[in-house]
Symmetry: C3
Subunit: 397 residues, 3 copies
């Protein structure tokens, strides 16, 4: 996004609190917006100079560029700005893991850490007050939906919810996704969408003037899962550079491990071990990508040996639905690499077991009590990551 | 509703703010309630004189007449009354388009205009704080449900929601609608109901002591759609008297166009054009009604000619489900009148294209970018109309 | 739960309001927690002595014992404590009717009475502000769900809702209930669960560190229904000792009447009449239990005679689904004992008709208008009981 110089300068100013209702300053704020080129722009903590007076303004409405230059409602907050000089965060939508670079990941994680500390009925728990999130689910995913809705409500926001969005495009009616999105964006401030078709989230984001978060689109992407996985490694191990990670189980079909491998490539000296039954091996595209990024990787058939040297053992479920009629292959694959007490026993003291959940028996329940069993903490981290994203997309830094 | 004189007089007084907790005044407020004859009555902005002191009281609970005379909780608001002398609005339920006269429509639209200006976290966005709306849907209608729920939440209210209300009267149980309503009204302050049977909303309203809004009852009524349609014409064209409206598409089955024709008859010098395939022509009852009301109407087979002279081209979807086995008739009807760039080209600059949504291909997508494409603004207007109705039914003017 | 003496003592102190932010006192509050042995403990209205200053602290977070000693966020409330000396209420979960003794019932009913008086937008309507309830329904029960959600929202709390929880453990995935609970407890502060399997609620409570309320687990328990039944008798008749209650209809399969009989046994001089078709007679276990508790009971085939002497006629629905192919037996049983005007005519003036709802025709609709028809008031009492339980479980007395 090309931001006009005058505005950038503006952002880097220190500020004082505006002593008057915002209406008085509105004209100062709107003057440069016509130069903005992105679909929409959050100008959070915008700082504007008017007649020698500097105001710190928290913009609570997005600026839409679609129907000409419009300026949303503005509200002057009596707060000390938390952003440092020139610091700025651009995030329009959350569509795929690939959109994040190392710096943005670091920023999101920093906000997620703040989210962990949000206490009930504190001012921080009300930062999304007045905002409405639409959870537009074209297929049910109760776990993901509840996590997003909890995140929104923990920050004082409200939720419109449907797991029945497929009804929009039911046989009898046949509405396009784009039309549904245009309708729903009229009712809400942000859309969290789950869809059964790969690419649906991107289409929704291209249509909507409000932010869209992809909560999984078919075999495509599930970027918030990828984020919470990396965040969990950072929280549990204390670092992301120089770590050794074992990816175990269904590496062919699991979008989770594929996204995770992709994101880990952004860090230094990472080593990845692939441990999987032959029928569900990691595909070449990810291997090639890792190689191209200078990330060491290795395939292994020995879970014990790998577990002993890794910081993270990331187990996944073998998905029966991927095997069709070949139940025999499924049963063989499924029993092959189980994380149990034996695996725990060879793991290092600081290492952790992760899993995107739900699990069947690929991690035995007697592992749950071990402090290194990180998978329920991992699920909880999903809450903080989603709180962070909602905050960043709706009110910015 | 027959309001006792003493109380009417009361309403027309100027007021001061009550300096004491409302309990002190409660006896003054309840004294005349036994004379009220309506099912229930919102006495909003009631003004009561006690010992020379005038209090302005915002009644936050409805007065139930059913189990004898009861007076709900009262709360003294530190507000200047916005109602002018003797101005009063009576609205118990919203059941059908026919219940509104021109004056009431004007009042609702005035409130809807105010609703457009409600800003996040402003006092206006909290006027329904503490109120609970039950969205009791006997069949899914995600679009309508989200619109109502957004409306309620934009005003600070809360929502209980079910799209599964049919479960109340499931085969095994067989509860009557009336019993379900009596249960749900114990949990909420207003019921928004969608039902598959014509007349269900009227039955619900006859049972409930709290307000009921019909969100569509089968082939029957969908009054909030009718209101938002008229409101949109008013907002887009700037007037309702003297307008020319083309109703296009399925005029036989669409309850939308039938209700719209009915409401337009309340305005002066309106001219309506019916443009539809032969199999789904407007029925005689509406034509006869328009004639009886002195409204000019005309059938035409030439969409281009009509579009050129109208202020509004109201397109509708040909509903496949109405054709049963006769797919051939459906396909013929469906392709006959399409609103495309060609139609736009003959339309006047100030005219608009409307559609109740969802659309299939009866409006081509290349029309969407034209400023005269009003259908997504129309959908958004549904939000403001519903906000207005919720406000009027729950706290009155 | 074994509470350490030092802490108990603490609870019995009078208190003053803490003049400083709670952080200053946090170390005083956490000191003794390691001695607590229960799964979790609400130390509501905890009173702590620090350097001669007594503080009244409302603990807003539960103390988890699972991952070592952690102390939740604390908040000092500027309130006068409503608890009397040494008065304390322990309630971890609500799983079955049997867990309540007479004293606890009395306490719950006392809070329910307070709940009846909670007015919109009063401070009392905000006591659960910031709290999140997850309604985790493995099968739909709209009535029960809406009642709980209304209760939570009437107290300022928020709700995460799913009637689709079965999707957690869908064939393809097969997650255990325990894993689902561990995930959901990360998103919420209390879980209200409906399940299709008897014992599921107990398993959930054993897993969760947050409170669990059983909203019905298959043929098992539905304790909040039992509580609201007893509460309704108390409210309608004014006492529970010395009452005469007729249980009518399906006594074999109805968990409602079985739980009610169980709870009534906790009161003095209660007499229970069983009036039911032969095929659905009350089972011996309950009869034996009543006898062992010294509760008089009697079977009768004459509803009129019984109705004439009872304080409560508790009618139930004959459940068709229990009869399988034997529709003939169902039809015979169903028509046998109907509560109609004739029954009303012999009932005493102070007596009431109750029913857990939904009803079919076992109470004729012409009974509804009689003041002794208490079943819709009974449904409403469910709201107050659930408000009371939510309050007690989340913030204590």
């Amino acid at each position: 996004m090309a931001t006009p110089t005058s505005f950038s300068t503006c952002l880097s100013q220190k500020c004082v609190i505006a002593p008057e209702p915002i209406d008085k300053y509105r004209n100062y704020l709107t003057c440069n917006y016509s130069n903005l080129v992105s679909k929409r722009s959050i100008v959070s903590n915008a700082i504007c100079v008017s007649g020698g007076l500097r105001q710190h303004c928290m913009q609570k409405e997005r600026i839409s560029m679609r129907n000409g230059v419009r300026c949303g409602a503005l509200e002057v907050k009596n707060t000390k700005p938390s952003l440092s000089l020139g610091r700025k965060f651009e995030l329009d939508d959350v569509i795929e893991a690939q959109q994040f670079d190392r710096e943005i990941l670091g920023n999101i994680f920093e906000v997620a850490r703040e989210m962990e500390k949000v206490e009930k009925n504190s001012p921080g728990s009300q930062i999304l007050r007045g905002y409405l999130m639409a959870t537009l689910f074209y297929e049910p995913s109760t776990r993901t939906r509840l996590s997003f809705e909890s995140a929104m409500k923990r920050l004082g926001g409200e939720v419109l919810t449907t797991e029945n969005a497929r009804e929009f495009s039911s046989a009898a009616k046949g509405e396009t996704l784009e039309d549904s999105i245009r309708t729903v964006e009229g009712y809400s401030d942000i859309i969290v969408m789950r869809h059964f078709e790969s690419g649906a989230a991107r289409r929704a984001a291209a249509t909507a003037e409000i932010p869209v978060i992809n909560a999984g689109d078919g075999p495509g992407q599930h970027p918030t899962q990828a984020l919470l996985d990396v965040y969990t490694i950072d929280r549990e191990i204390g670092k992301l550079d120089g770590i050794k990670v074992a990816l175990v189980g269904d590496l062919a079909n699991g979008r989770t491990v594929r996204s995770l491998a992709y994101l880990l490539a952004k860090y230094q000296d990472v080593k990845i071990y692939f441990v999987s039954p032959e029928v569900v091996k990691m595909k070449d595209d990810i291997k090639d990508y890792l190689t191209s990024q200078g990330v060491e990787w290795e395939e292994s058939a020995d879970l014990m040996e790998v577990a002993a040297k890794c910081d993270v053992v990331y187990q996944t479920r073998i998905q029966r639905e991927r095997f069709g009629e070949r139940i025999d292959l499924y049963e063989e694959a499924r029993g092959k690499y189980i994380v149990d007490k034996g695996v725990l026993n060879v793991m290092q003291k600081h290492a952790v077991v992760m899993h995107p959940l739900p699990r069947l028996d690929e991690i035995t329940v007697d592992v749950d009590g071990d402090p290194r069993a990180a998978y329920f903490r991992q699920a909880k981290n999903g809450l903080y990551i989603r709180m962070a994203l909602l905050k960043l997309l709706l009110v910015g830094w």
